[in-house]
């Protein structure tokens, strides 16, 4: 077990951590504002993967143009498949459309499944969230496919080939890994700035501190909450597309495990705290990867949850969480 082996496993962990962090941000954002755990978030992650695959296929898969008989797709596809600029645009379109579609869906879910229950006991929206989660899973199962779908073109090649970006010692770092980690860091930085610097960000913080008082001060609470339910799912959708590209498939129940892990990451970092979610995500990813590489693959979840328990014993509020007295 050499140093390069340790480095390579850490690298796997950082990439996995980037995915966890993106999903964890959605959990923590909603919790910070509504004190509610959005159990449908893992399904929005899954839907992000499906929407992204659909967009990729329509914009770049010649077989789709043939099968549907949509001739107008061909010039569009040749633009997206020609040269580096077209390829970058293809990625922008895939991530952008997936994020926007899923973000809007997240707002719809909030409007119809959570808002009517805002003044109900805290268990009610929780159950509603579980219901939405089951509904979304079964909708994909029935309307799309029960099979695991490959995240590839018809010829089996990946939409984004995993080329080597650079080499450290004897360890190859792929473009996909760099792409995932950089994107998640940039998105966190943007979100953090947005929440701490802008006017609407201040409204979000105010709503999170005291919803009623913020409302009395003229903050449009419904708008703030809707925004949180757009941003969280949109980030989850981006993670869903990454997950499909990096690991190679989508399935209707693929959200469950990453959802639980990301929720764990959010708790480790201190739920409600954006930077905490990011820290927890990377920490969990690295711990899992090292456990899997140095102990055994069967131990990865054991070690991950031991970390959770240790954090909760010594810092019940999470690593970056503040000890807040329970609101009465």
């Amino acid at each position: 077990m050499s140093l390069s082996y340790l480095l390579e496993q850490t690298l796997n962990g950082i990439t996995l951590g980037g995915l966890y962090a993106l999903v964890a941000l959605g959990y923590t954002l909603v919790y910070g504002i509504l004190l509610m755990i959005n159990f449908a978030h893992s399904e929005l992650f899954m839907l992000g993967g499906y929407v992204g695959l659909g967009v990729l296929k329509v914009l770049s898969d010649p077989a789709v143009a043939k099968a549907t008989g949509w001739g107008f797709l061909e010039p569009i596809q040749s633009f997206f498949m020609s040269g580096n600029f077209g390829f970058v645009m293809l990625l922008v379109a895939t991530f952008g459309i997936s994020a926007i579609v899923v973000g809007i869906l997240g707002m719809f879910i909030e409007r119809f499944a959570y808002r009517p229950l805002r003044h109900a006991p805290r268990l009610a929206p929780l159950i509603s969230a579980i219901g939405v989660s089951i509904f979304l899973q079964n909708a994909v199962l029935l309307w799309i496919d029960s099979k695991q779908l490959p995240y590839t073109r018809v010829d089996g090649s990946a939409f984004v080939t995993a080329k080597t970006a650079f080499t450290i010692g004897s360890v190859n770092v792929s473009t996909m890994q760099v792409f995932i980690v950089v994107t998640s860091l940039v998105l966190l930085a943007l979100l953090d700035t947005f929440v701490s610097k802008t006017r609407i960000g201040r409204a979000m913080r105010a709503t999170s501190q005291d919803r009623e008082a913020a409302g009395l001060m003229g903050v449009d609470i419904n708008r703030v909450i809707a925004l949180a339910f757009f941003i969280g799912p949109a980030l989850g959708a981006i993670a869903g597309v990454f997950n499909g590209m990096y690991y190679g498939s989508v399935k209707f129940n693929m959200g469950f495990i990453p959802g639980i892990k990301s929720f764990t990451a959010a708790v480790i970092g201190g739920i409600g705290n954006l930077r905490g979610a990011m820290l927890g995500g990377f920490l969990l990813g690295i711990v899992e990867s090292l456990a899997s590489g140095f102990l055994s693959n069967a131990y990865r979840d054991v070690v991950a949850f031991v970390v959770l328990i240790l954090v909760l014993i010594f810092r019940p509020g999470g690593l970056l969480g503040e000890a807040v007295a329970e609101k009465v």
Binding site: S146, P150, G156, A162, S292, S296
Partner: protein, 403 residues
């Protein structure tokens, strides 16, 4: 909240729960054609297979094979003379033992159900077979390969495919002797099927003189194998053996090749499906191996006939690993039903006596099936022990590998 309103809510909850149960039962599709004379006795064959989760591509093939066999039987003069029609009912076990148990209970609570064609996963059968045994209903599996299933003393259990203790060693011999691989890394998906097969393979590979450089477990729902791939890379293995089904196997193969580990992956009958190549990508899957029970369909005398009938019934679908086995397994049950209907009368089929007679008749089965001679030994295992090794060729399909 007034107590009246509370009571109303309770009533609504109970009604909703009952509605769920009813739709749960109603979701099973009746795929028979019930036309013709109304007086005919109708008996039902249950198809227990993973249809929404797990190895769905294989499960759907089990339904196709059975439906084809039943359709042909219903069209035959023999059944019309006996005043008998056979229907099928699907039970979705999701490849999960717990769900399989409730499917089995649903099956046995159907009074007209006289036999079960299923299940795909050995782990599911291990739970379900006991429920069928108590109800005295025959179970014929097209696909269970775990060795111990026929050693549990279940007299109602039969299978038309051979077992891991034949399949695993045959695959290991091929990897060591024909493919010339000396160092292997063995992974399984922690299911009854995957663990059993991987153990048998590893044992034989070591006995042949090969070195097992590592042994790891994943789960059948894992999609992230990056850490495992790094471990495999550092182990110096020349081949990876994966005990499990195609979903995860394909992603492991893909992530291996993408991570710079260009060694073949070998698996059992659970990965013998075009879905494996589709999920992994043809370029990544090229050179991967698998074994499957029996000989390739087109090399068997009745294979052509089956392929033609299949094409006519399901023009837009391809034959998966277990379509033919399910066709044979269904025919085992159908022939037993016909035999008992002749001996005791069609109206006796659904009685306890009739069901026991069906089990006895299945044990005595002997006919030329699509997959070869169908006969059972005293334990309920098939006497047909042929294994074929397949490999993914340049054209991106499974083809029999060079011997």
């Amino acid at each position: 909240m007034t107590s009246k309103r509370r009571r109303f809510i309770a009533v609504v909850a109970v009604v909703a729960a009952m509605a769920l149960m009813v739709t749960g039962c109603g979701a099973k599709k009746d795929t028979s054609d019930t036309g013709g004379t109304k007086k005919a006795t109708e008996v039902v064959i249950g198809i227990g297979a993973p249809l929404s989760d797990g190895a769905v591509a294989l499960g759907k093939g089990m339904v196709r094979g059975t439906v084809l066999a039943v359709k042909q039987a219903n069209a035959s003069q023999e059944l019309k003379d006996l005043g008998l029609t056979i229907a099928t009912v699907e039970g979705d076990d999701k490849g999960d033992p717990t769900t399989g148990g409730s499917v089995a209970t649903q099956f046995t609570s159907n009074p007209n159900l006289v036999g079960v064609m299923g299940h795909l996963n050995s782990g599911v059968t291990r739970v379900a077979v006991k429920i069928y045994n108590q109800a005295g209903i025959v179970q014929v599996s097209p696909a269970n390969t775990a060795v111990d299933l026929t050693e549990m003393g279940m007299k109602n259990y039969f299978r038309v495919c051979t077992v891991d203790s034949v399949q695993g060693p045959a695959a290991a011999d091929y990897a060591f002797k024909v493919a010339g691989k000396k160092v292997a890394f063995v992974v399984d998906d922690a299911t009854v099927y995957g663990t059993g097969l991987a153990d048998e393979w590893a044992k034989q590979f070591a006995a042949d003189g090969g070195k097992v450089a590592g042994r790891e477990k994943t789960t059948d729902k894992d999609t992230d194998f990056k850490a495992l791939v790094t471990l495999i890379k550092s182990s110096g293995a020349e081949i990876v053996y994966y005990g499990g089904i195609y979903n995860s196997a394909a992603l492991l193969s893909k992530q291996m090749k993408e991570g710079g580990v260009s060694i073949p992956l070998m698996g059992g009958d659970g990965i013998y499906d075009p879905e494996f190549i589709k999920l992994a990508g043809a370029a990544n899957a090229k050179g991967d191996f698998c074994t499957s029970v029996g000989l390739p369909i087109d090399q068997l005398p009745k294979g052509q006939e089956f392929q033609a009938a299949f094409k006519a019934e399901f023009p837009s679908e391809a034959i998966a690993a277990y379509d033919a086995y399910s066709y044979d397994a269904a025919n085992v049950i159908i022939k037993a039903i016909v035999q008992v209907a002749k001996d005791l009368g069609a109206d006796k089929l659904t009685t306890t006596e009739g069901k026991a007679a069906i089990v006895a008749a299945v044990a005595k089965s002997s006919f030329e099936g699509v997959t070869g001679k169908v006969e059972f030994d005293a334990k309920g295992d098939t006497t047909n022990k042929a294994i074929t090794v397949y490999t993914v060729g340049a054209d991106g399909t499974w083809a029999p590998a060079a011997k």
